[in-house]
Subunit: 109 residues, 3 copies
């Protein structure tokens, strides 16, 4: 048993959630926020047997595409920077980050 | 020191939270969503010394009961399935899932 | 690669979030609730190379100050206790709790 912590873009989360259900993978969903652009993302916690890790990783990879998107950067608190930096800019978003964490005990009550 | 990640039903969370306080167990609470029926649940993150793991597991087991409940399944996106599947159905809910994860360093500032 | 799970006070979270951005540390932010006084706090999940752990810990320590604050305790469900316990009390808040958790696999898609 391993714990997979997968951070994906909000737009990819619903499809991925359905993929998990179809493949009988129990995932717990957290609403999270990314560091850099403060955009919303979704974190899934998935407890899975070791032999199914690659299957889960494949589902995540297929559902999470990098893409171009316009975003408004967070309000700039540094007065030295140019005020135009609060206009929308095109950035590459998407993709997923996955941590596989060891589990010493697993219980279901 | 271990990190316990406990996912319980929303209905059981308040009682369990009080149990933790009464037993001087520090727990951080996250609002989460379950995979299958998209019902709300609550995840507790608990840092605990190894010799108290069984005590925490007992509290979780006592507070989390499986029970029958009516739920409306999520909207069905697969047109081939019968539309009646969006009516409430009786399901077994409750119970808890607990992961015990190793901790290499623990700091309090 | 390690996974740092850092629980800090809400008031310290924005500054710390900016510190992470300035130092090119990717952090995912969760809105969480503390156990004892039910006050809001913020949990950061940070994937970081082993040699940068001390740098991240220093940023967390510098941003998280213990301080005195008035708080209203949660409604007391135990009728035997005095009703005055629901008045605001002065408590020491702040500080941070950090768990460093091993990571067996790390993927970015």
């Amino acid at each position: 048993m391993k714990l997979l912590i997968a951070i994906v873009q909000d737009k990819d989360a619903s499809r991925l959630s359905n993929d998990f259900i179809e493949n009988d993978i129990r995932a717990t969903r957290l609403s999270t926020t990314g560091g850099f652009l403060k955009s919303g993302n979704t974190t899934f916690m998935i407890g899975i047997d070791e032999e199914r890790i690659d299957e889960v990783l494949s589902l995540i990879r297929e559902s999470s595409h990098t893409r171009q998107q316009f975003m408004t950067p967070p309000v700039n608190l540094d007065a030295q920077l140019d005020s135009t930096s609060s206009y929308p800019i095109e950035v590459q978003v998407g993709g997923a980050t996955v941590f596989v964490v060891p589990v010493e005990q697993f219980h279901q009550f």
